[in-house]
């Protein structure tokens, strides 16, 4: 069919154009991080550097006072990793409670909490800051690690996933004398690994990239995560037009999540199939 051929070429043309627009900023950013300041200022626009140099990265790493980028990245790694591990613990035990334990008002309670959690987040930001302040967590990693554990979205996913696991598995373990803790740990936990991996990945990425909240709760340059740190860079390097160093810092900040995507790509895509609520 002729139209099928035409539409195929149109599809390719469109996808290649889109891909080029999507990828060129990244390439240009990476390339510029390897250009000297003189070249940036004098040569003008060029996609790739005339001379590849690493001076920008040396300068970035040397600055440990006003823009301690390695420190920021370490802070982000600590925050995102701890948050992710705690998310996995909390959503799996809570999901077990709401799908496997029998107690009065269980589902009413669950859906009440779920309903409340749809209340727009913007309203609770200011009081949340006050609570973090009372807990003494301003300028500490806990300000970013703990509040996100209260969310309902991932618990909903885990609960849905657990409903697909036959209750007979629990019952035969119970007959053998297993307690709830034992069933949770030995029967359910191994079976819900796929959903925990996906929830963990998205929690990590979400925590790493969070911007509004860290900008509010961190004022100490040494304590902040890298997303909040980069906001300061516009004033530190941007004012002196140190474009190469700006780019280098941005590139360093995105390497960890890129690596995660590279190694766990299939889980990112499989997330869609777990989310049965939005499947057509």
């Amino acid at each position: 069919m002729k139209t099928a051929k035409v539409s195929k070429y149109l599809a390719y043309l469109f996808l290649i154009t889109v891909s080029a627009i999507w990828i060129i900023p990244m390439i240009f950013g990476i390339a510029t991080s390897f250009r000297s300041q003189a070249e940036v200022v004098n040569v003008g626009f060029r996609l790739l550097p005339v001379n590849w140099i690493v001076d920008n990265y040396m300068a970035i790493l040397d600055n440990t006072s006003t823009a301690p980028i390695l420190r920021w990245i370490w802070n982000s790694i600590f925050i995102a990793t701890t948050h992710t591990l705690l998310v996995i613990v909390v959503i799996s035990i809570t999901g077990y409670g709401y799908s496997r334990m029998n107690f009065k008002g269980r589902d009413v309670l669950f859906f009440t909490l779920l309903g409340i959690s749809f209340f727009p987040n913007v309203v609770n930001i200011i009081p949340s800051y006050r609570i973090i302040d009372i807990l003494g967590w301003v300028n500490t990693p806990w300000a970013m690690i703990v509040p996100g554990l209260a969310g309902m979205g991932n618990i909903f996913l885990v609960r849905q996933f657990m409903k697909g696991i036959p209750i007979e598995l629990d019952e035969s373990a119970r007959v053998d004398g297993a307690s709830n803790f034992r069933i949770y740990f030995s029967v359910i936990l191994p079976l819900i690994k796929p959903v925990l991996i996906v929830a963990g990945l998205f929690s990590f990425i979400g925590s790493w990239n969070d911007f509004l909240w860290p900008v509010i709760v961190y004022t100490d340059v040494q304590k902040m995560p890298v997303t909040a740190g980069l906001l300061l860079l516009q004033d530190i390097y941007g004012n002196y037009r140190l474009i190469g160093q700006l780019m280098g810092s941005a590139i360093l900040a995105i390497i960890p999540t890129m690596l995660l995507f590279l190694f766990a790509q299939k889980y990112f895509v499989s997330a869609i199939n777990l989310n049965s609520g939005i499947k057509g």
Partner: protein, 291 residues
Amino acid sequence: MNRTKYTQWFFIGPHMLLFLVFILVPSIYGVYASFTRWNLVSSPQWVGLDNYKTILFNQDSSFYHEFFNGLKNTLIFVGISVPLMVIIPLLIAVAIEHKDVKFKNFFQSIVYIPGLISISAAALIWSLIFNTQLGIVSNLFGSEFAWSATQPYAWIIIFVITVWGGTGGNMIIYRASISNVSKDLYESAEIDGAGPIQKFFHITLPSIRFPLIYTVVMTTAGAFNVFGQPLMMTDGGPRESTTVLMMYIRNLAFSHGESIAGIASAMAVLLGMIILVISACQYYVMNRNAA
């Protein structure tokens, strides 16, 4: 058997505590604070509807102008970015799912990757693209002004970075649901002589209506909370023409001077109510039309 009667609290108790402290209490307190004069430190003083009256009706007050300017800019952002973030991902998903197109996962990854980059890192990279002397855009189009300080270009760069970062997530959702549509439907439509465009409107779109509703509602709610893109790309300028409501709320509550958390809370409640009402309307309208 008292022990088993309370075991559920071991499982749901810890999260319940977190939920109370970090969702329920702050949400209630956020509404309460909107009726008070509060500086975030001392205890709030009840002022009834004063904050709302000031924000909504007192034309002499700077809060009135901030609120309506912020609301206007937020609505501009929502009104333009949401259609873009639904239509562009949908087109890309349709193109990737074209039956003769190869390298599907390659194209998908390229479009998805920017979604994994934080807004601050993305903004630094894009500020280079739009840089007056060095950037691709100025050299390509020969423009010699600062994009971030000139309208409508300030808005354009905000939309560009938003679409760049936000397309991948919706695209994957659409792609997954398009690939689930039965091939028989398309084949029988072809036999009836339907072209690609007819197939798209009569088979693809109706078949993916639930993911569409979901993404429209979620994208809209997210867009109302816009903050990072204008802060990083334009710092709200030129002349506060891209300062969105979230930026005013943050400045009032957390900037260096005296905190005006009561007014900020009232603005947050108003923004929250707008989000709730619009989400509910979208869900209702789209669900009914799709049924």
